[in-house]
Amino acid sequence: MPRVRDAHGEGVDAVVIAVASGKGGTGKTTVAVSLALMLGDVQFIDCDVEEPNAHLFLKPVLTEKTPARVMVPEIIEERCTHCGKCAEVCAFNCIAVIPPNAGLKGGVLVFPNLCHSCGACSLLCPEGAIRESYREIGVVESGQAGAIRFVHGRLDIGEAMSPPLIRQVKGHIDLNRTTIIDAPPGTSCPVINALEGSDYCVLVTEPTPFGLNDLVLAVEVLRVMGIPHGLVINRCDIGDGGVENYARQNGIPVLMRIPFDRTIAELYSRGLNIVEKDGDYAEKFRALFKDIKNHYETDCGHQRKRGHG
């Protein structure tokens, strides 16, 4: 399945909106889930495969479960001459070749945890002695939460690399439907893989020095990726004016401000979402979606070079 629509501006109705943050715990999942609940007929893609949480709030019935597999090399012993080519070409140091010595048979050690599945070893083995085999790193689960189509991934405990699983989760995106992506925190590879191909990114932040520090990093990533973005300032009344100033100086629209409310925190703790309990919030999130679409369509939608390549 293509990850990005190719037509110019077509399917503008079906935007891919990512919700990200830089700093963790600012309310990404709350905002993403609220948007999905308000819109109803959308797909929700939880890309935080290390710590997926959205299912706790959307409570989908998960009907499909696919193991997420990555390619790893498997040595065909009888063909291997222990020439060492595979170890030489592996940029990730996951193959060690022990040459035959003093009558002892040689061997090849593969460390699958380090493998990035690039295929260099199997392609470049002069003897054709490396077969592509697979190993599981987690699962992709999908199902329905009412009208919402839900997909998430769960990385197995002890696995280091989430990007391949994130890419597999995103393989389930149907580009003809509006999509909400719940991204992992941070600014490195997992986030970039989650955001890649999105039309718009909502950055959820909090008005504290921590929130600001991580927001600046997240904005820099979005600029590099060429993804238009706006802010939701959560707990907008608990910190200082740093985030608002930064947004103003950098021309980043503030799409929504959510004041601190202990009720939201308590509902959240029980896996409940504010829009299910409070009509005002439902209205606010509906307005947020409209705002996002306006920004996407008027400011950026048609000039933007699609983020694939």
Binding site: S21, N53, G158, E196, V221, S269
Partner: protein
């Protein structure tokens, strides 16, 4: 020398605020910020940077546009979808390139160069609380796990040369690569969690990780009074899993407000939050990490 890492699974549970307070409470230590892609600890420690080092790791492919014959073999071979046609040429998308070098090896005219990445910087700083090793991953760079390993190595050296008792590590959220790099070889993982469904869900996964690597773990519940019932469940979980319960910190709006003071929380307030952090530290400090959960 003992290495203590503060992690959480879920982001935003209060790791850094807790770690900064340990900086003020622990007597003899080096501090390390291993959340290299969203580092915040420096904001509370007023560091004076004395050394700055480049961090180079991994490579990115570069196709010489003048010499490329546009055969497309590289694009076909790339498993990361990182090479695409761009006008008459082929171009590498550095965000997608994982640096495997396959393209450079198979290019029939040998015009692909693998260029070393400058992935970020790391710093050695002095603070009022002791030496501090921290880093900044470059924008949209990879290899955060290796950068974590690099700052931890530097911190361990300092602990040895200055004969310090503790290496105190502020860890990243999640359970992936930088978390594994922050956790390996530590003597105690302090898991800061919150009494929410997500907090518990994520703490369970982190506990799975500490068990997997046989690292003794302790749990601190932050904002426990947001949901007292869920807090009791977490305490029960500690019993079940043979994990040390290090205490519960009440919710206070003062905590977020205090960040502006740019100092460890225990130095800015005398309240229930500060008391709870102090008591958690006393538990960590009084029980030698070696003797308890290591065997379980």
């Amino acid at each position: 020398m003992k290495q203590i890492v503060v992690i959480s699974g879920k982001g935003g549970t209060g790791k850094t605020i807790f770690t900064a307070s340990l900086a003020a409470l622990a007597p003899s230590k080096v501090l390390v910020d291993c959340d290299v892609d969203a580092a915040d600890l420096h904001l509370l420690l007023a560091p004076r940077t004395v050394e700055r080092h480049e961090f180079r790791s991994g490579k990115t492919a570069w196709i010489d546009p003048a010499l490329c014959i546009a055969c497309g073999e590289c694009a076909d071979a790339c498993r990361f979808d990182a090479i695409a046609e761009s006008g008459d040429d082929f171009e590498v998308n550095p965000l997608k390139c994982e640096g495997c070098g396959l393209c450079a090896r198979i290019c029939p005219v040998e015009v692909i160069e693998m260029r070393e990445n400058l992935c970020g910087e790391w710093y050695l700083s002095e603070t009022a609380y002791g030496p501090f090793v921290h880093a900044k991953l470059g924008i949209a760079q990879e290899n955060s796990g290796r950068l974590v390993a690099c700052v931890r190595e530097a911190a361990k050296d300092i602990a040895h040369t200055r004969s310090l008792d503790y290496v105190i590590i502020d860890g990243p959220p999640g359970i992936g690569c930088p978390v594994l790099a922050s956790l390996t070889g530590t003597d105690l993982a302090v898991i800061v969690t919150e009494p929410t469904l997500s907090g518990i869900h994520d703490a369970r996964r982190v506990l799975g990780l500490t068990r997997h690597f046989r690292i003794p773990a302790g749990i601190v519940i932050n904002k426990w009074d947001i949901n007292p019932e869920a807090s009791r469940k977490i305490e029960a979980l500690c019993d079940e899993e043979g994990v040390r319960f290090l205490g519960r910190i009440p919710f206070s709006k003062q905590v977020a407000a205090s960040l502006i003071k740019a100092r460890p929380y225990v130095e800015t307030a005398q309240d229930g939050v500060a008391d709870a952090i102090r008591s958690a530290w006393n538990k960590i400090d009084s029980e030698p990490a070696d003797k308890d959960c290591r065997s379980s």
